[in-house]
């Protein structure tokens, strides 16, 4: 107990009851998102800090409580105060959001601070800026590579080229670049008859299922860059699974979700892409479609980062109508019943070491795959624990972050080795890269297993 004397002039029996009390608008002219209520909600419990995978290994990183509410307050007090450059060490895993018992929008604060740091303090001629910009604009590189996939697959993993890339650009040569598909998902989709083909197949499935052929079941697929250019089997599985449940699928025009751009503070790049995505999705949402993503970072961007960072027409409606693929089926279909009756044999009858991506955790999806598949005949699945994989998209590709990234991932690698079998499973393409890199396992997506279980 404090030794201080009790104040004597405080008389709570005669208080200012202020019946017409009105909260004061502190920054009435600001057009930015007002982060003050968020900063005020922080009561310094430091729970966020215990969730930060970077602070656990990086002695230069002050953690989310500093990056968020504390830095925000420092800046209000002092116009000279600039953003601390440690914000660039945040990997944007967003775990701190899920940790906060007081609802502080930590990742929104980090994204805002990082955006300001990059636009106002980072040299636009620095190697770091251009390296980050190229890494975060993966879609552009992937688009180019997809024109000549064989050549790209060779060139991107050609030793001397990678050595040069590390020395000149700071992209680690420790990692293998992902392989580009010979045919993109969208090319395949066109061959399958696109939306018209899907409508026909969905109607047939509805007939088979005893549902009305005209049932209003339609979804818009946000495949993201990776399912389009690299793991096209995930996109194909999504289409087949949803059609199996009688959904008509459309694949609207889309750009990168923006995930790597947020993590690198490239907010104007992200906004440009978001505008395209929101515009094409919001038209479809108006027509009764829901947006479905197979990558949990894409769904995270559309659901949370967009409305937190941008003011674009229709953005809130799109956020409220965006779902991860299995999550959507779990809500609207009897997924459990269907899986109870199913059995997997062949290629995917395996033991899976499942890792929940950080961005899946933040959407409340971390137990979903294990809960759905743990009783599925013919397969085994084991959660490899709550550790972050460590790659966090572009973070683990940076030469100066590579070691930290592997140190964060160590716990996951060990748990994968301990689990039965040698196949991994996750929703996130870059977590998959890290899992493969650390263990040599083949990594699959839950949609692929769902397809194997229920689609004939």
């Amino acid at each position: 107990m404090s030794d201080a004397e009790s104040p004597t002039d405080f008389d709570p029996t005669a208080p200012n009851t202020g019946e017409d009390f009105e909260p004061v608008d502190v920054f009435p002219d600001s057009t930015d998102f007002d982060l003050r209520p968020g900063a005020d909600s922080c009561y310094k419990c430091s729970t966020c800090d215990t969730n930060c995978p970077v602070a656990e290994v990086d002695d230069d990183f002050p953690g989310p409580k500093f990056q968020g509410p504390e830095q925000w307050r420092l800046k209000q007090n002092d116009d000279e105060h600039t953003i601390d450059d440690s914000v660039m060490s945040c990997s944007n895993c967003m775990r701190c959001d899920n940790a906060c018992p007081s609802g502080v929008p930590l990742s929104q604060m980090h994204n805002t601070a990082r955006g300001e740091y990059v636009s106002e303090q980072m040299s636009k001629t620095s190697v770091e800026y251009w390296r980050n910009r190229i890494l975060s604009n993966y879609r552009t590189s992937a688009w180019l590579a997809s024109k000549v996939p064989r050549l790209a697959n060779f060139a991107m993993n050609f030793g001397p080229a990678r050595w040069a890339l590390e020395k000149t650009m700071g992209v680690t040569s420790e990692r293998e670049f992902p392989e580009f598909a010979q045919e993109t998902f969208r090319e395949w989709w066109q061959k399958e008859g696109a939306a018209a083909g899907s409508r026909e197949r969905a109607r047939e499935h509805r007939r088979r299922r005893g549902e009305s052929a005209d049932a209003d079941k339609k979804v818009a697929y946000f495949h993201g860059c990776y399912s389009n250019y690299n793991t096209t089997e995930v996109g194909k599985a999504m289409v087949r699974v949803f059609e199996h449940f009688g959904y008509e699928v459309v694949v609207p025009e889309q750009k990168c979700s923006g995930t790597p751009m947020f993590a690198n503070g490239m907010l104007s790049d992200a906004r440009r892409h978001a505008e395209v995505n929101v515009s094409s999705m919001s038209d479809l949402v108006d027509q009764g479609y829901d947006a479905i993503a197979s990558c949990t970072s894409c769904s995270m961007a559309l659901r949370q980062e967009y409305p937190e960072l941008f003011d674009i027409d229709g953005i809130d409606e799109v956020a409220a109508h965006t779902f991860e693929s299995l999550e959507y089926l779990r809500i609207h279909e009897d997924l459990r019943g269907e899986l109870d009756a199913a059995e997997v044999d062949g290629d995917l009858a395996k033991e899976f070491a499942y890792h929940a991506p950080c961005h899946a955790r933040n959407q409340g999806l971390e137990h979903q795959s294990v809960e759905l598949f743990r009783d599925l005949e013919g397969v085994g699945i084991e959660d490899v624990g709550e550790s972050c994989s460590g790659i966090s998209g572009t973070y683990g590709w940076k030469e100066e972050k590579y070691e930290k990234s592997m140190e964060i991932g160590e716990e996951m690698f060990e748990h994968m080795e301990d689990a039965d079998g040698d196949t991994g499973m996750t929703e996130c393409p870059t977590c998959a890269m890290q899992m493969e890199h650390g263990t040599g396992y083949d990594i699959r997506h839950p949609l692929e297993l769902l397809e194997a279980a229920i689609v004939d």
Partner: protein, 424 residues
């Protein structure tokens, strides 16, 4: 369509987890939804049943002797002694790293402020620190960790009249950690026994820490550290230190964020996962359908409302701090189901002018029938299939009584078990 289960538990703290575990062990299909991560990581990790009477008498030797004397509205009276014992047996079963279950008597544990806390269960890592033990103690503080001032804590302990000599020293944690390094940073370094630089040489972290403490130790048979000794492998960290120091090693429970709390959270979630329950954290329950009977509740995700339906529901959303009970200038309310929360009309009666006075707000919460179902102002139940557990219950002041964990475990157990039986 909704996400379905037989029993739906709202809240992921000690009460919610115990509820879900009890219901799952009763054979029900259980789902637990929690807005954020469990608040257990803010808890010291000590599990108390009753340390003081509501009148402030104590520390109590035997909580089970004092419970029958509690006022009628106390949650312990609602569930009864027998249920409290069954509930603690469930806890002991799912938290094997806990000690104290061999006796009804309270243990006395030193806190990081140097006070003595009566508690029913404590982590194995704290057991060498018992205040009833007569071996001398060295408390080791870390320069960068201002939450634990070892000299100050030692002086306070001495003043309480403990039956041993206690001394505090403050050392620098080996390695070049930043001044505000997170507790998880220390824990990870010790878990992995990572190399740290000490005077130009690299040494495993556990060895380096033991070396530093050994230069300060003066024959004490027990050494206490702030609770940072590992997360995944805390037993291993303590074993190495014990061996290198030639002394018993214990952790002093700390304020938030707390590794012992985190370890307990992990143990309980693992047990729940093993029981086959489904778990979702990250999104709040915001609304419900039903009149006198809860049909379904809505989990809100970025503007989308996801229906979750069950036969039976358990409300374990916490008290005023956990936001299971909210207050405004006009009144006090329960935000999800709008269950009745009794309170004085004049808000100036809600508190006492003395900081440690008898505050009404400390006992704010829902009233229930004998079956833990919240009751309305007229005494009838609010919903026939909704039970409440933990600090959302009114009628007791857990902070003053040191009864928070015990009430959560006992009422969580009772609510979960009853819900599962009803759902059959």
């Amino acid at each position: 369509m909704a996400i379905e289960s037989e029993v739906l538990v709202v809240g992921g703290g000690l009460a919610g987890l115990t509820s879900a575990l009890a219901a799952a062990r009763e054979g029900a299909d259980v789902r637990l939804v929690s807005y954020k991560q469990s608040t257990l990581r803010n808890a010291s990790g000590l599990v108390d049943i009753l340390g003081y009477t509501p009148e402030g008498d104590g520390p109590l030797t035997d909580p089970f002797e004092a419970i029958p004397e509690l006022p009628d509205e106390h949650p312990y009276q609602t569930v009864g002694l027998h249920t409290i014992r069954e509930a603690m047996a469930l806890f002991d079963d799912v938290a094997p790293d806990y000690r104290g279950g061999h006796t009804d008597t309270n243990a006395l544990l030193p806190t990081h402020g140097g006070t003595i806390k009566p508690t029913a269960r404590y982590p194995a890592g704290a057991s060498a620190g018992l205040a009833s033990d007569t071996r001398d103690v060295l408390l080791v503080g870390l320069e960068s960790m201002v939450d634990f001032d070892a000299q100050h804590a030692a002086a306070h302990l001495e003043a309480t009249g403990v039956p041993f000599d206690v001394r505090g020293v403050t050392i620098r944690f080996p390695g070049d950690l930043r001044a505000d390094a997170k507790i998880t940073r220390y824990a990870k370094l010790l878990d992995t026994n990572g190399e740290v630089a000490v005077r130009g040489r690299t040494v495993p972290a556990r060895d380096a820490l033991a070396q530093r403490v050994n230069t300060e130790r003066d024959g004490e048979e027990r050494v206490g550290f702030p609770a940072i000794l590992g997360d995944d492998d805390d037993a291993g960290v303590r074993a190495t230190l014990r061996e290198k120091l030639g002394a018993d090693v214990f952790e002093v429970p700390m304020g938030p964020p707390s590794l012992p709390g985190l370890r307990l959270e992990d143990a309980l979630f693992a047990a729940l996962d093993e029981s086959g329950a489904s778990i979702e954290t990250g999104n709040p329950v915001v609304d419900y359908d039903g009149e006198g009977h809860v049909e379904q509740v809505y989990v809100e995700k970025n503007g989308a409302r996801i229906p979750n339906s069950a036969d039976q529901y358990v409300l374990a959303t916490g008290g005023l701090v956990g936001k299971g009970v909210e207050s405004e200038r006009e009144g006090v309310y329960e935000p999800v189901f709008d269950c009745h929360v009794p309170h004085a009309d004049d808000r100036y009666e809600w508190f006492d002018t003395e900081a440690f006075g008898d505050h009404q707000f400390a006992r704010f919460g829902v009233e229930t029938d004998d079956d833990l179902r919240p009751t309305a102002g007229d005494g009838g139940v609010e919903f026939d299939n909704l039970r409440a557990a933990g600090s959302i219950l009114g009628g007791y002041d857990f902070a003053a009584e040191k009864s928070g964990s015990g009430v959560s475990i006992a009422t969580g157990y009772a609510a979960g078990q009853r819900a599962a039986q009803e759902a059959r």
